[in-house]
Symmetry: C2
Subunit: 322 residues, 2 copies
């Protein structure tokens, strides 16, 4: 028996780094218009249904929708994850249908030209404010998140140990250091603890009354967390950063983009030693003119690095002291 009434949605987490922050492209119109009045229609990811007769591959379908909704022609695209839990999407409630959404990650360069048709770049850390440690430990961790997590941990005596362990791993509550890659673990924990509004929308838990971070339509914040986790992990072993940079750049520019994505400050001298000794970049011979202090040399990505090194990524020599 063939399954009836399945719709496949294609969602794009399109990221760029501008003005020192990782940004995600959001839309307000589109498929969700009918479910909310125009004024408080939630921010959403570019989205479109997969249409088998029109789209030869899933990725081509995604590219078409993004171009149609935002005017942006995507370069680097990779598939993230497929989300299919029941009741993710309000459109399911009316009929008995099911919407399965395939999330994609796309990386675009600063100032990629596109007609801005209802699309807007938003700082990723508006949605996930606990992930930005560049100016030190975010105060909202100790002010809101940890107290609320503690309440959640003791709320269910039988699960107390497992909950405490999960919180300890995800948020480095005990001795271990903050792991920049556990973005999704942290989001999912906050969701289960009822600390993000979508948990209440989905009626998972109503105990905690605090809520942190800007909300997104449906499960789009989870998709963003999935994307950021992927980028932070992959940046170390694949030359992803260069998809976000102009063809030539200074080492400081490169470092700032890596810092924006990973959410931690890096040790400048050690960072530059890593990328140059690994021969991931090479000098172009030109110098940067718009700098404040001493002019910096302009570098470019060395494509041969992919052939020479098995893990051509950037490494994160975290700076301890501020």
């Amino acid at each position: 028996m063939a399954a009836l009434d399945i719709n496949i949605g294609l969602n794009a987490v399109i990221m760029a780094v501008t003005e020192g922050a990782p940004r995600v492209l959001t839309v307000h119109k589109g498929i969700l218009s009918e479910y909310a009045p125009a004024e408080d229609r939630p921010t959403a990811l570019p989205f479109g249904p997969f249409e088998p007769n029109r789209h030869r591959t899933l990725e081509l379908g995604l590219r078409e929708w993004v171009e149609e909704q935002t005017g942006l022609s995507l370069g680097y695209v990779e598939q993230l994850y497929t989300f299919g839990d029941r009741n993710r999407d309000p459109r399911e409630r009316a009929d008995g249908s099911r919407v399965v959404s395939i999330g994609y990650l796309a990386l675009v360069r600063e100032n990629s030209p596109f007609r801005t048709k209802d699309a807007e770049w938003v700082n990723c850390y508006d949605f996930l404010p606990w992930e930005d440690w560049r100016k030190g430990r975010p105060p909202l961790l100790d002010q809101f998140i940890f107290p609320a997590l503690d309440r959640w941990i003791v709320a269910e005596p039988e699960e107390q140990i497992q909950r405490a362990e999960r919180a300890s791993i995800a948020f480095a509550t005990t001795d271990s250091r903050w792991d920049v890659e556990r973005v999704l673990d942290r989001y999912e924990l906050l969701y289960e603890a009822g600390l993000v509004v979508e948990a209440k929308r989905d009626a998972v838990l109503k105990k905690n009354e605090v809520s942190v971070g800007r909300s997104f339509a449906l499960d789009h914040r989870r998709m963003l967390a999935t994307a950021l986790a992927r980028v932070r992990g992959k940046i170390k072993y694949r030359p992803l950063v260069f998809e976000l940079l102009a063809p030539t750049f200074t080492l400081l520019k490169l470092q700032n983009v890596v810092e924006a994505l990973s959410g931690v400050g890096l040790h400048k001298q050690n960072f530059r030693r890593l990328v140059t000794n690994n021969r991931l970049v090479e000098q172009t011979g030109n110098m940067d003119t718009e700098s404040r202090g001493r002019p910096a040399a302009l570098f470019q990505f060395r494509r041969d690095a992919v052939r020479e090194r098995s893990q051509p990524g950037v490494g994160l020599p975290v700076r301890q002291s501020p």
Copy 2:
């Protein structure tokens, strides 16, 4: 307009390591019965359609199908990738429908009890023989693969440079070392070069007349390659191996499982130094009795390692000399 006639398939790459080889669970019956006579019906992955009214989540649907088809109750499961290209599945040809398949990876322990209802464990390297370097460089690389790849590279003068570069990265044809993680890159290159039979089945290329490795139904060999690539990568930073081992094990047993998966021989002393110094395992106090030489201490996974280390994996100190 809602998309018409989409079916979602759930496929499981179920892996175990037995008798020194990574194995994948295969079936011969099931959904594919109608498309081939019983005798030369191809080996396939356990498969079932996603049924929205029956399955609350995609993963639960997969678990149900696997249990129904193989009698196996899965433990560790993770989603791999969603495959949706046109003409992946012969069932599409009859009507204009589309089958989108979500691939999952599952890891089970040696001797997991299950009723063998048409299911069979097959050595993964039967399908991907060029991936097993434990007994040195596989001869079929120089005998068949490289000559055929060379013909493919020069066949299209305009793409020659890109093809040569891709081959160089995937197969370490030039100076760089064999990268155990590039399993999918290598499979995809062989597919494009027409060196695996499914390429001819799909009429991608018919020029090369050699074909390497045992074939799988549909695009199931690609799914296996995706799974092996994932395991080889993830084993280094997540404690996956222990899903494949009995609760207690000797360090040699652990090493052999890692070697089977990664397809390379490891330096024994350095391997043991890594896992013990990282405190990934701890002694149980008991000794192994069934060994040949000096009895080995029995170890177990140290769960606290996940909290203490940000990358609790095993590391691959490759042995150079045989």
